[in-house]
Symmetry: C2
Subunit: 304 residues, 2 copies
């Protein structure tokens, strides 16, 4: 039997991963425990797969998708397990026990978990070192980032190679943290975005536009640390820290700590409604995905 990738869970993330793996030539065996949900999966995977090949037209696109009836069928002959079960610790722990009892020995179990951490997830495993967290940035078939954490460095090296082989950009964490890296950064930024709405400094759409036409644009090309390095002029980050470090610390003191109380929620909902200008979520997603494909094609080989 040909090598395959097991995708566990056929929700949004599982479907998106499947589309990516199939587009990159893998045979995917997908297990979704809710039988009712299985019927629509192949056509949904197929739609997303087209976006992957739009982004990377050179792909041979020779993989296949099979929805299995049981977990054991999905695991048979697999060389990689991507787990996308609901974000509940007991449920995932039980699943890992089942996988350890069934899957080929030592195959890596990569959890797409967004909000949970490795130490909680691995606590009851026979061999915890075979679990890694491999958190994709949604949607994984279009966004390159995968954040890795685990305790077996050889396995993490192999994981980085695997994700690179399907066009992803893996990064490594040295310590686990709730929200990994990217969602912590997003959360920190959004806190101040919510603060400005709450305090009446600017409207939702003006804040979003300031981000998109300012720092968001910059951060599609260079990271925040590197941006401050360039912000220091010829002296770089050393000069920046010496001359502008104190004013940065002062600005940190001035940032807000909003709460998502009723009044703030209402301002956010009203602001988003204006910003959406009648476009549905589905319309906005189509527009977002097309733009993401265009940006990435333009950036190939050009990021710092």
């Amino acid at each position: 039997m040909k090598d395959s990738v097991a995708v566990i869970g056929g929700g949004l993330i599982g479907i998106s991963w499947s589309a990516l793996f199939v587009a990159y030539g893998w045979n995917v065996l997908l297990f979704e425990p809710m039988a009712d949900a299985r019927g629509s999966i192949p056509s949904r995977v197929d739609e997303l797969r087209k976006q992957v090949t739009a982004l990377s037209p050179d792909l041979v696109d020779s993989g296949s998708l099979t929805c299995t009836q049981t977990l054991a069928e999905a695991l048979e002959g697999c060389v990689w397990i991507q787990e996308n079960a609901p974000e509940k610790v007991p449920l995932k722990r039980k699943l890992y026990a089942d996988i350890e009892a069934t899957a080929p020995r030592d195959v890596t179990i990569a959890s797409s978990t967004s909000s949970l951490v490795w130490s909680d997830l691995s606590a009851e495993m026979a061999n915890p070192s075979r679990l890694i967290t491999a958190h994709p940035f949604n949607p994984p078939h279009l966004m390159p980032l995968v954040e890795l954490f685990g305790i077996d460095s050889e396995r993490l090296d192999a994981a980085a190679d695997f994700y690179r082989s399907v066009g992803r950009h893996p990064v490594r964490m040295k310590r686990e943290a709730v929200g990994h890296i990217a969602n912590r950064l997003s959360s920190a930024l959004w806190r101040e975005a919510v603060n400005m709405v709450s305090k009446g400094i600017a409207d939702v759409s003006d804040i979003d536009e300031a981000l998109v036409y300012g720092p968001g644009l910059r951060w599609s090309v260079i990271g925040a640390h590197m941006a401050y390095h360039l912000g220091g002029g010829p002296g770089g980050i050393t000069h920046y820290l010496a001359h502008l470090g104190p004013s940065q610390e002062k600005r940190w003191q001035d940032l807000g700590s909003p709460s998502l109380d009723t009044a703030t929620r209402q301002k956010l909902v009203n602001g988003i409604e204006l910003e959406a200008r009648g476009r549905s979520i589905a319309d906005l997603e189509v527009q977002r995905d097309e733009a993401l494909i265009s940006v990435q094609r333009a950036l190939q080989g050009k990021r710092l």
Copy 2:
């Protein structure tokens, strides 16, 4: 005499604005008080102007640049004043008094100030309503964002029109705030980026890569508020706030409040050195600017 734009101050920001205005057909009269600095300005403006036309090849590029010997010469016949003096309140207040005494009456004085606020800057003016803050995101000839604040709404409408006419994307603030919008967002994000370095969660380069291949890429296309709207699925932001609002608030509690102490500074400097891989600031700037031009050409008309 033909209408002209007065650019006051020939530092990095003044030069970048001048390149933009000239590329869009304006005659720019630039006053730099330090006579020694004037010699190199025309060639530096010319270099940046080429980047503007690389980004927007349709521009007729018919403007001109004149470095004047006095403030009065720069102001003569101007229809717009872009002020880029050093970030010191007394110096800018004195400058505004000189401008009010000399410039055509009622022409808007637009301050590029990054760290100061309108109420401080305008406090001693005969006609404070003619001052606006118009903060560009660096470098202004390549980054579309301009953040506007002032007290005269007609003047702000005209300012928005003026900046749109030179290819910028103006946003409005309803209340002044230190750091305007974009630098507050940047500052909030960087605080958590520094926190993760300080706590040993990830290396500088992994954090930068997580941003560039994850949220930065996303934010080049859609804003943070809109991203959470789409993150809520078919129910949008209302669903998101109801179901994930509490976990977001919990994550906010887990974000760090680092200080830029000696140990943290050293970690940042060491991390940036590794990330730069021997490339000089100048090399990195060239790479950044080329990538910024590519992304923006790809995104024309595609942002949400």
